[in-house]
């Protein structure tokens, strides 16, 4: 019985012989299997037209190339040269995320208190993320994009809640994994970034790994940051921020004086903020390194303004380094601060 449709018909499927043959059906199947078995020796499947040969990809020694559109988890982008993040905390991705795993807060100008187009904190719960890609689609500033990294299995569940430092990647990284997508988005993204950078003050909007390092040493440091998986992205130690360009004169003088008090004998040149930044950078790098590698230093008796020979703000001997002389801290607060800092150093920050 066939029914005529427009542009086709329906037909009854032929069931074949009602009686089973004595084993010939199974032999026909076995013939198929044996031919495949022998053809699998040495012949690897080359294209999708091949139906015989070794189809298996010996993962992890061999890997297939991922297409550009592949999306796994979101990442945030920052500019290679300046370190400025493209994200302005406009909340569009947070609003559209179906499982609501994106959380962020907007940065405010320290002087005026107004909101500025930069993001203060940004958290994505990777363990609940659906990888749908709607956040990357909606972002008007092309700041959040979908990463290709999928080997993220870990036994540390809490590390699956990733903060901004773990999410940041340089634009060069995204350009390497999805060049065609970045080509389409590049012009408008960089133009919007230039506009947003003008409205950001100080270090707001700069990715944390750039703060404290020389702004010029971008690509190598950026590669190091991008190579780290989010699970092991360590919070960088927070050395004092380099002196920003918007600080007023007396503020600058006060800051330098405080630092001179902390650094003791270190050459805290007043006239060169860049040099001070470099000095602090040295200090920052020292802190990041294990404490055992720190040079020998004289052992002050734990006083607040003990002279240091190395210029290091914190070290195992001078636990209190960094408390300015003219603040009136009560005794127990000083004690608590000591214990916190010794604990931090013990963690090897």
């Amino acid at each position: 019985m066939t029914v005529e449709f427009a542009r086709g018909k329906s037909y009854v499927v032929d069931r074949g012989k009602p009686k089973t043959r004595a084993g010939q059906g199974m032999l026909a199947g076995l013939d198929v299997v044996i031919r495949h078995f022998f053809s699998a020796f040495g012949k690897k499947v080359e294209t999708q037209a091949d139906t015989s040969g070794v189809f298996t990809v010996q993962y992890p020694e061999e890997r297939l190339e991922l297409p550009q559109a592949f999306r796994n988890f979101p990442i945030l982008l920052f500019d290679d040269a300046t370190g400025h993040e493209l994200c302005t905390s406009c909340f569009q991705c947070e609003r559209i995320c179906p499982p609501q795993v994106i959380h962020m807060s907007q940065a405010t100008d320290p002087v005026t208190g107004k909101a500025i187009p930069a993001v203060k904190e940004f958290v994505i719960e990777y363990d609940a993320c659906m990888s749908c890609g709607l956040c990357a689609e909606v972002c008007p500033f092309d700041a959040i994009k979908m990463d290709h990294e999928f080997e993220l299995a870990t036994s540390d569940h809490l590390s699956m809640t990733v903060d901004k430092a773990g999410l940041d990647r340089p634009i060069s990284y995204y350009q390497a994994i999805a060049p065609r997508f970045w080509e389409e988005a590049k012009d408008s993204a960089l133009k919007k970034l230039a506009g947003n950078m003008k409205r950001r003050s100080g270090n707001i909007g700069i990715t944390p790994s750039f703060i404290g390092k020389a702004q010029k040493a971008a690509p190598a440091a950026a590669k190091a940051v991008s190579a780290a998986t989010p699970a092991v992205a360590a919070k960088p130690a927070t050395p004092p921020a380099p002196i920003g360009k918007n600080m007023s004169e007396d503020k600058l003088a006060r800051l330098v004086a405080i630092r001179a008090a902390n650094a003791g004998g270190a050459p805290a040149a007043v006239a060169a903020p860049v040099a001070a930044a470099a000095d602090v950078d040295h200090g920052g790098a020292e802190v990041a390194a294990p404490v055992a590698a720190a040079p020998v230093r004289t052992a002050p008796s734990g006083g607040t303004s003990a002279a240091l020979s190395t210029g290091v703000p914190f070290n195992a001997d001078n636990i209190l380094g960094g408390v300015p002389e003219n603040t009136a801290m009560v005794e127990d607060k000083i004690e608590r601060l000591k214990s916190i800092r010794s604990g931090n150093i013990g963690k090897g920050e």
Partner: protein
Amino acid sequence: MPQNSKLIVNAMLKTQELQLNIGPQHPSTHGVFRLIVTVDGETVIDLKPVFGYLHRNHEQLGEVSTYIQSMPFTDRLDYFNSMANNFGLSIAVEKLAGIEVPQRANYIRVLMAELTRILNHAAAVAFMINDMGAWQTPLAYGMREREKILDLFEMASGARMMCNYFRFGGVVRDLPPEFMPQLHDLMRGLPTFFDEFERLLRENEILMLRSQGVGILPKELAASYSVTGPVLRASGIAYDIRKAEPYSVYDELDFDVPIGSVGDVYDRFLIRIEEMRQSYRLVQQIIERLPDTTGGHINPAMANIGKQKALRPPAGDAYGRVESPKGELGFYLVSDGSTRPYRYKVRAPSFINLTPLGDMCRGHKVADVVVILGSIDIVMGEVDR
């Protein structure tokens, strides 16, 4: 033993009915699905399915999400064929809001839907034969072709299974340039695969003995049980939504609809293989016509995702349905004029196809229950939503 003495022996033996639990954790129940089977010896007397182990309240999630936020959730309904689910929701919302879809977008959509049909039927047949005990061999063959098509989906949409590719008014992005050469390659290899797959399985004596005459759904009852898809067509009713109420560009394409004669498991198996060939025919036609289509990959008025998420369909209701590989997948939406639907209902084919399961299994052996369940081809994501 002659029949009479068997009866006498049975009457003398004190037999009891046993209630078996084919429990939610079972490799052959196609998901977390529980069957409470009452057996007398090995023969099934009664069968009661228990649902709800994968109930994720998808419909209420649809009420608190905007229409576009529901799109990734529809991927997870029939998680085997995410493109078909996306298609269903798109059709329903476009009916509700009156959005036009350009020609090229329609052709891309049908291409994805038919590739989904091929990969679903390959895997469904493979899993059913796996349940029969043909350990993994047909499964490996079916999954190999499925992997090739999943690679194509990954290239176009970004993910293999949870594609999230369709948007209201078209698709999210056009096909990348490397898509068509790989699709051509795949098409060259598919006829060989179909022939090999049939040769491997069709005349196999064990398969024939285990599937012919098992799980018969007679033609007179099939319509009253509301089954759709290959199960309905195997019973002899030639109903296919792509012919009955054509959507998208199915009315411009040529294809046939295979139907069965007996309505048993063997018919459903044969129908799925034939439907794969018909889908292949459809994909060939689409490949020929795709370069000449116009209109872009999405309706320009809805191209920005900002427009998608701010979509406010006028108040009213709409029922949009597609022929998903498992049956009729329908979405019933009631809009109150805001960005979120007032009611979001999914008419899941796997759920309703399970209605005759008890009647189909009665009188068969326990081992046949698994085979019949495999032939209905269910996915628990759809059954429980």
